[in-house]
């Protein structure tokens, strides 16, 4: 009996701890046949210094949506490729390895939201200091609403250089979108907001009523 307990403990110690925790999160959530492949992809990511949480989330998403195992593996593999592309892009743009996982996730988001890789690279190079998440989302928001990609990137880069705090860059894109809603052309909207920089309208804050009715999910996962 003691020998079996010892063997079991040895096996547990031999496995890397992240692998155990990843398998624990996947078991019962995705088809069991997909777990080994997904697990190995996640281990590759960890070995390469890539963030693993987006891959775990993609697998859990597939399981929750009752997607077949092979499609889950394919989606996780696709996400792994996007993270590798994001890391390479960041290095090309001037970030020193090892690249921050959060920045890789940010760039992967930007590419998934449809921003051209050269544009993302230009924004990364212009904003040498992380974090760049707000800047990427601000550019992506503008492009998604039909703004010229280069002009949108120029506005956000100018805003950073004019001293707009990173956490307020989404207010820059929001201000431009509001100008369009008031009947301006997109070019006019960008020009108006650029003239106003670094002054921006105050962002909407959650009301007392909203906060009063808010609740926390059982176990929120950091992005």
């Amino acid at each position: 009996m003691k020998r079996w307990v010892g063997l079991a403990l040895s096996a547990c110690v031999a496995l890397p701890l992240p692998a155990q925790s990843v398998r624990g999160r996947l078991e019962g959530r995705i088809p069991s046949t997909a777990i080994p492949a997904v697990d190995s992809l996640i281990q590759f990511a960890a070995q390469e210094g890539l963030p693993t949480e987006p891959l775990i989330q993609k697998a859990l998403e597939g399981g929750a949506k009752h997607v077949a195992g092979p499609r889950i593996v394919a989606a996780v593999q696709l996400s792994l490729g996007q993270l590798r592309d994001a890391r390479d892009l960041l290095v090309r743009a001037g970030d020193q390895p090892p690249v921050l996982p959060a920045e890789m996730t940010t760039v992967a988001w930007a590419l998934r939201r449809g921003l051209p890789a050269p544009l993302v690279e230009r924004v990364v190079a212009a904003l040498a200091r992380p974090p760049r998440a707000a800047a990427m989302h601000a550019v992506a928001d503008l492009v998604a609403h039909g703004f010229d990609p280069d002009s949108a990137a120029d506005l956000i880069i100018d805003a950073v250089h004019d001293g707009v705090p990173r956490e307020r860059l989404l207010d820059v894109s929001t201000a431009a979108l509001q100008q369009v809603q008031r009947g301006r052309t997109r070019a006019e909207a960008l020009a108006i907001v650029r003239r106003q920089l670094p002054n921006l309208p105050a962002p909407a804050r959650p009301t007392r009523g909203n906060v009063a009715g808010a609740r926390r999910p059982a176990a929120p996962v950091p992005p």
Binding site: R71, H137, L170, P206, V211, A214, R215, P220
Partner: protein, 204 residues
């Protein structure tokens, strides 16, 4: 000293009829009779005696119940409040408890890197709506939306760490629907689209 005519006395005493009083005396008799009536009448004005005033008050009818209540309400009263210190402490504890209970209804205290995410969807025929995403490991059933006024608009307000999240609605436990009100969508690599919510720190 003048002497009053005997016939005037007799006329004033009623012993002599007025028509038999000589004409030259009739005026004097009339004046004396008026003076006598004046003296017999009670004195006019505020000089009523204490006795008469008390009697007048006694004879006045009692005021109605409503009038008495009204008079009690508007009349100042002295109130003596005697409180035991122990009861004062209990009262203070009850007030403090009620205050804390009310404060608890004001919602959770937000951390420095936390924000509020609002999820709203219109599903008129739905029996249940949940929001599922990267903030809850895509675990269906953990965050339910509510339609308290039964107008088909389902809502949930959630505290999340600041960041970017993908999510979808799950209607009646089986139908996966993107948030059509979301400004940001992204392909989910399974043939559909996820909505994106960016949670900004509430304390900026």
């Amino acid at each position: 000293m003048s002497v009053i005519d005997q016939r005037i006395h007799q006329a004033l005493d009623g012993e002599l009829a007025a028509e038999v009083v000589p004409a030259e005396l009739r005026h004097a008799v009339a004046q004396l009779a008026a003076a006598a009536e004046l003296l017999a009448a009670p004195p006019p004005g505020p000089a009523a005696s204490l006795e008469s005033r008390v009697m007048a008050e006694i004879r006045r009818p009692a005021p109605s119940r409503a009038r008495r209540v009204m008079r009690w309400l508007v009349t100042p009263h002295a109130i003596i409040l005697r409180v035991r210190p122990a009861w004062s402490v209990v009262f203070a504890a009850v007030v403090a408890t009620l205050t804390l209970f009310t404060a608890g209804d004001q919602g959770p205290e937000l951390g420095e890197h936390e924000g509020i995410a609002q999820f709203v969807g219109r599903f008129p025929e739905a029996q249940s709506v949940h929001v599922v995403g990267t903030f809850n490991d895509w675990r269906p059933g953990s965050i339910a939306l509510e339609d308290q006024d039964h107008d088909g608009v389902w809502r949930a307000t959630v505290v999340l760490p600041a960041g970017t999240y993908e999510y979808m609605f799950v209607v009646d436990g089986e139908r996966w629907v993107p948030d059509h009100l979301a400004e940001r969508l992204v392909a989910d690599d399974f043939g559909r689209e996820n909505s994106i919510v960016i949670v900004r720190p509430a304390r900026r």
